[in-house]
Symmetry: C2
Subunit: 424 residues, 2 copies
């Protein structure tokens, strides 16, 4: 029978094998007190199964506060499988099963969901990204190289007209992609529709003049009905990219957008730290991004190499790669998304960002890396595009940059960060 | 100007006051590199403000892995406020703001969102619970005492007919409330519509005979469109309570259900451990339950005293009380929900569960506490109802229980747990 498989990194005072069995029981046929009705046949049909248990360490103290205590706390990887008959391919029920009550089990003093393998049936039953990288390029007539993008800053505080003024500067400077900040959605001080219309007038005018339709990821994040109204407004305004804060609307909200959307869906992961920051509780990005892609995200934020936040470069590299890998380990529909790099990005991270993917199908967002270029915004964009071309040709920036070029000035302006990438 | 206030428990290598300022900046007008456009006027209008900073401790090592390090890590409470003009009363944008990128700030080696005060405008702009405790009683003709409930076990594995058979036993035994397990939604082995119809035949027949309509919280958790179809099926079947796993569908999913629902909404919090388990990252229940109530949950799970999971009794007590408190600290619409106790509950926890609330407006779910009664399910339910009556009268169980009564047998059967409640 087709099964879903998940791997957890757990810690337990109760013995690793026992804890794995409790986890499998709790998340399937398990009852607190074993009931007569929990027959062997029922367990065979619906029970979760412990597939493997691998001890990786032990400690004298628990990593998280726990009701149960012990003399030692074993740590290890446990792989559990579930029959697909329990929940079919419903993503919300998959979440209740793989990431539900088990996080509160007294037998566990740490638990992270680190991997999931979904049968191909999931990729068939869900829409996946409507456009992906190829569709993204088609929307804007940008046929090669990564998309050079930026974020409207200040994060919040601009009026619609002030936002449009900044967008005007950016499109004139040759940018490919502009996004709202996740804090800017539909507040009274900058209403969605006014901002959308003001910005799209600029972008449409620029497109009429140049043939290049800059992508504006307008933040539609809101309640479901309002997001649908926002999509209608986007349609009327000729907008082509809807930004959704996936943790704020949930993956069902993302899917609801996908079901009514004619445009690109830009998945922002604000709030991701809750899932990622502790080594002892949470969910790896490799798991969640599969759900977000199945639900329809065309673009997914993956943080940036040498970012201003807390994720390591290896974590960012794994995240960026993950969204370009097939949903199921045994193949099937790829449903790939474009990784979006951002946070502290300058000319220096373009090459490693490209190298770890092996292609140009990514969005590279820089804030200060564009705005703080001594030659202005236009030179900031040019320097990043040149850095991408150097990366494609495999030429070091210092060798590629012509004297007095925007790239040369960027080399002199921005400090080269130290990357710690073990698997490049 | 009306402001939203949130309090965080943070730890930082950068100095507590500085970290608070960084947090406020990141979550409002802040830019990485201070831009010319970030004027004083703009900051005054849209900036978040640090309202207070209280040092509570310090350590030599960081609680969470962090990019920034220091000689010491200060810990403390910081209160930040935002002008409502930034996001109005949109709950998703409230989440992006209060619980967004800040969780990943390199200046923080721990951060929990522990409290939020919302202006009354939130309570006015959101529907809140459609029925609450009073409406719940009206749906079933149960006018006094807590609702005695149970969960269909095994969690998963029963066919629709097997489920209905168990429900038949339970309604005959006098139960008030029955819920699906969160794992049981709409899998191929027990399709939603078949289970719903099989169970409601039993409940409707029992209601026709006795006048008592037992509440069946059927798990409608799914994608938005499917949840709406599930509500339609419930309407046709005469069902009165929809269970929603709030973390699996997100709070926008919950709201989407509320907008189309004619029935009670039973909020299950499977997956809550991700938010609650670590003292160093996450969100307190007191915060999330406000959003879930605003979005429309009539019932909210709060775990149980002496539960089989990991939360302390004080945490459970605070959670249970929180859902009966007004949304805004300065009054306004109450929008209260019924707390649902469950997990390891027997006759022993009824009295403290009631005492900490000061009323009977709660649902008390027992699994083994009913099923394992030596006199059978019917005596199990009777013993809990008697325990509730004893609690109401303020009489100890041992004094209230008649010889050979179901309550007496329960006293002899179930071990009295040790509670650790500091504030009762």
């Amino acid at each position: 029978m087709t099964r879903i498989t998940a791997t957890y990194d757990i810690e337990t005072p109760s013995g690793l094998a026992h804890a794995a069995a409790v986890l499998a029981g709790e998340q399937s046929t398990g009852t607190f007190v074993r009931l007569v009705s929990e027959t062997d046949e029922l367990r065979e049909r619906s029970g979760a199964r412990v597939e493997s248990v691998t001890l990786t360490g032990a400690s004298k103290t628990p990593s998280l506060p726990s009701r149960k205590t012990g003399e030692k706390y074993e740590r290890g990887l446990v792989t559990i499988s579930w029959p697909i008959g329990n929940f079919g391919t419903s993503l919300p029920t998959l979440m209740s099963t793989l990431a539900g009550n088990l996080f509160e089990l007294a037998e566990l003093s740490a638990i992270r969901l680190i991997d999931v393998d979904l049968p191909e049936q999931f990729a068939r039953d869900h829409p996946g990204p409507q456009f992906g990288a190829e569709g993204t390029r088609a929307f804007m007539g940008h046929d090669k190289g990564p998309l050079i993008g930026t974020i409207i800053k200040p994060s919040i505080g601009f009026t619609p007209d002030e936002t449009a003024d900044l967008v005007s500067t950016l499109v004139t400077a040759g940018i490919d992609f502009i996004k709202d900040d996740e804090l800017q959605a539909n507040g009274p001080d900058c209403p969605f529709e006014d901002r959308l219309n003001a910005v799209m007038r600029v972008i449409n005018n620029h497109s009429d003049r140049t043939g290049k339709k800059v992508l504006y990821a307008v933040n539609i994040t809101d309640e479901i009905d309002q997001m649908w109204r926002n999509l209608d407004m986007m349609d009327r305004a000729g907008a082509t990219c809807a930004m959704v804060c996936v943790n704020s609307v949930g993956q069902t909200g993302l899917r609801a957008v996908r079901d009514r959307s004619k445009v690109l869906i830009h998945g922002h992961r604000a709030g991701w730290g809750i899932f990622s920051r502790s080594p002892d509780i949470g969910i790896d990005f490799g798991v969640m991004q599969k759900l977000w892609r199945l639900a329809g995200a065309d673009h997914l934020h993956v943080n940036g190499l040498a970012n201003k936040f807390t994720e390591s470069d290896n974590t960012v590299a794994r995240a960026a790669r993950s969204v370009q890998q097939p949903i199921s380990k045994n193949g099937g529909s790829a449903h790939t998304a474009m990784p979006v790099y951002s946070s502290g990005q300058t000319i220096w991270q373009v090459d490693p960002a490209r190298k770890l993917l092996g292609n140009d199908d990514f969005i590279y967002c820089a804030g200060g890396g564009i705005m703080s270029h001594p030659g202005g915004v236009s030179d900031g964009v040019k320097s990043l595009r040149d850095a991408a071309e150097a990366a494609r040709l495999g030429i070091p920036l210092e060798d590629f940059a012509k004297p007095n070029s925007p790239l040369r000035k960027a080399i002199e302006t921005f400090q080269k960060p130290h990357l710690t990438l073990s698997d490049l």
